[in-house]
Structures are given as C-alpha cells and as structure tokens.
Symmetry: C2
Subunit: 214 residues, 2 copies
DNA sequence: CACGCATTAGACAGACCGGTCTAAATAATG
DNA sequence: CATTATTTAGACCGGTCTGTCTAATGCGTG
C-alpha cells in the first residue's frame, strides 16, 4: 500500500505531520483493495468505493481521473505488497533451492488467510479492456514473478534456468488458481510443495546433467 | 429436456438432422458461447446475445428464464465439449502415462487456437454469485477433471494416485491460466510437457515400484 | 480577516442493465 | 379452414453504471 506518490505540486515547506488521518488517496486505495479484491472490479461500483472510503466522488475523480486508473493503482499496490512479501520470504535463506521452496510455502500461508480470493491480477484482467491499464499491470506483475523464478533457477545452477523458471511459474499459477477455485481447500499445499521439489530435483540433478554452454 | 450435448463450439453449421435452421435454444447457446467466452459473462449483455442469435428477447426468457441460467447452459455445453475432446485424446493410447501426456498435448493444441481465451469456468466464476449456478458448474467441471487425473494416476500405478492427480491438476490449471495471461505465448507447451513428465517420473519410478494392481 | 484551494454532498446526465409485457406475425395442429 | 401456441419486435420498467457539475463548506496560509 506504499504506492502513493508524494509528488505534490504545492511544495510547501511545512513539516509533515504524521498524525493527521490518511489522505483521500490512501483511503480510496484501502477501500479499493478491500472491495475490488473481495468482490471483483466489475461488480463493485464507484459509489461503494467512495462510501467505504468516506470520500466524495469529486475527490476520487480529482485524484485518479477514472475508475480504470483507480483499479490500476489498486493493482500497483498489490504488486508492491506481493514483492515485499515474497522478497522477505526469500531473503531468510541462502540456498537458491530453499528460496524457491520458500516462495511456495509463503503462498501456502497466503492461501490460508480467510480473505484470500485468488490472484488479483488474474481476476482483474479477466474481463478487462485489451491493451488497457489493467492488462498492462498484469503483464508487469507476471514479468516480475517470472524473472524472480528464472533468477533463482539460474542461481541454483539449473542447466536451463528459463525452462525451469517457466515450470515453476506454471506451478505458481496453478496453485493460486486452485486455491481460489477449490474454496480454500487446504489439501493444495502438500501437492504443490511435492511438485516443486520434483521439478527442482529433475532439473538440478547433476549425476547425469547435460551442461548447456561453457 | 436434454441438455444441448451436441452444441459443439467448433462444429460446422451443417444441419445434420433437419433442414430447418437451428432452434432458438441452439442459436442462443451458440451466440452465448461466442460472446460470453470471448468477452466475458459480465460485460456481454442480453441484448447482444439475442442480436447475435437472431432471436427475440421473449424467447430467451421463455427458454432459459434468466441470464444466469443461460450462462449455466453455456458452461454445461463447454463441459461436454471439453469432456469429449479430452476423452478422444486419451482413448488413442493404452498406456496410462501416455494418456496423461496426451491431455497436456491436447491442451497445448487448444492454446494454439486463435480464439482461445482461457478456461471458461475460471472466467465465469471470477465475479459470480457465491453458491449460484455458475459456481456449481465450475465445481462440477473441476471435479470431473480431478477424477480423470486421479483415475489415470491410479491406472499408471502411482503409490499415491490422489497426490499425483492433484499435482497434475495444478499443472493443468497453471498451463491454462498462463496460456491466457501470456497472450498465446507458444513457449508454454514445452515447459508444461517437461513438468508433466518430471512429475510422472518422480511419482512412478520409485526405488521399489509399488504396482497398484490392474 | 481574507483569500485560495481542496473537499464535501448530491443532483444530474447519458447509457446500459436484466427482465416484463403487449400486440402483431407466424407456425403448428385439430 | 379454424384454432391454438409460439415467436416476433420493441416499448417499457426500475435500477445501476461511470462520470460531470454545482454549490456549500471547511481549512491552511498570506
């Protein structure tokens, strides 16, 4: 939720007071995060957002300009939140293999949250305007996830880090989708971890490894 | 009141049985299949369905009763189509392992279709009313897919057919989701097949293989 | 205080939504 | 042919949607 830019045109020299309540932008983003994520960006209208945020409609359109840009800002904050969460889950390990498994463990923990409702980018882009801000936000998010897996696969010494990264991304996608579609069935965590280990073992086993490149 | 099992999306428009044109129900389902699948059940309204089908609005409500029931019928026809497609893909092999890989090959072929737009059940249930007809249709479809993978895993002699079935289902979900989100990137087929083989090898080639009869 | 500016509540616009209903036209059936 | 049932086009309903605009209200700063 730290996506708010403080680029204020009125560059006042007033010392920022940290106690006054959140700005309209912050409260709109908080309301959007709750309502859009829980019920979907199509079914939730502007009126419900401003009601939850306690903000006038004019402020919303003065701040974001359109609903689509509000959705894009909501997705950007989701992107930042997931980046922080997974980065913290990773940095507690040194072994790249353990880092990869830590991602799936962090996801399993996320799926257990009672308010979990699937991937926000997948949901928002389902009926989004092609080529619009929402699709772009989803593309950026997926590129980040894929780069993370590819980098870790390379650090783990995989002969084909791109291929292993894509396999892990497939598993990541499948786990998130199944966790939503199966209504929080906890039986997803174990097969996900088993599959991740099997894919890592198959790709990293060095006994009969074909070295790709010098 | 048999469900429209012969309403295949890609079938030709040849009137096989009778000379007169398709019934209102068939044309409505065909229009729903095109519009709902391509643009989403939320964004496509009733008026566009009846315009495409060339049917009066009264006939739609006389036939289906509500939009939700039309969506449910559209999903039922999708369910039947996928069942037929995957069943045909499977029955060309005898080895259960080859049957499983044939499913992923059939999916890869599906992803290459220019009008592919992801899993219809995943899309329709994204913002669906909880506990409604759409969610039920998605649950039934997922149960069928899972049973298929579990049965094949058991036939393949997996020591834990439920676990392997879930792993394969995760991969199935991930492949379908990635194929949509990555805008038809053909680079998904190879990692999917590699992962499927790795999961099968890990589950079926044990130090001491336990054959589950049959 | 006075000014400027952001924010407020809410009316309003124009479009679309799912769904109902009427009345004419058509098809099926005795 | 006459009767009945279905289908048709489209008006119509109440409601919701995004987005604009007005006018009053704060509220910090010179």
């Amino acid at each position: 939720m730290a996506a708010a830019s403080e680029a204020s045109p009125t560059a006042s020299t007033t010392p920022a007071q940290h106690e006054h309540r959140a700005s309209a932008r912050e409260r709109l983003l908080a309301a959007a995060n709750e309502l859009f994520y829980a019920e979907g960006v199509q079914t939730v209208g502007i009126d419900r957002i401003i009601e939850r945020a306690g903000v006038a409609k004019g402020s919303l359109y003065n701040t974001f300009g359109s609903k689509e840009e509000l959705v894009a800002a909501y997705l950007a904050s989701r992107h930042d939140g997931t980046s922080d969460r997974l980065t913290k889950a990773i940095e507690r390990f040194d072994d790249p293999r353990q880092k990869i498994l830590a991602i799936f463990d962090a996801q399993a923990q996320l799926f257990r949250q009672p308010d979990f409702n699937g991937c926000a980018f997948t949901a928002a882009s389902t009926e989004a305007r092609p080529g619009g801000l929402i699709e772009n936000a989803a593309d950026r998010f997926r590129a980040w996830i894929r780069a993370m897996f590819t980098d870790l696969a390379e650090q783990a010494g995989a002969p084909d880090p791109v291929g292993l990264g894509r396999q892990l991304h497939l598993l990541y996608d499948g786990a998130g989708l199944a966790a939503r579609m199966d209504h929080g069935d906890p039986g997803i965590a174990q097969p996900t971890r088993d599959a991740a280990e099997a894919l890592l073992d198959a790709a990293l086993t060095r006994s009969h490894q074909i070295l790709a490149g010098g």
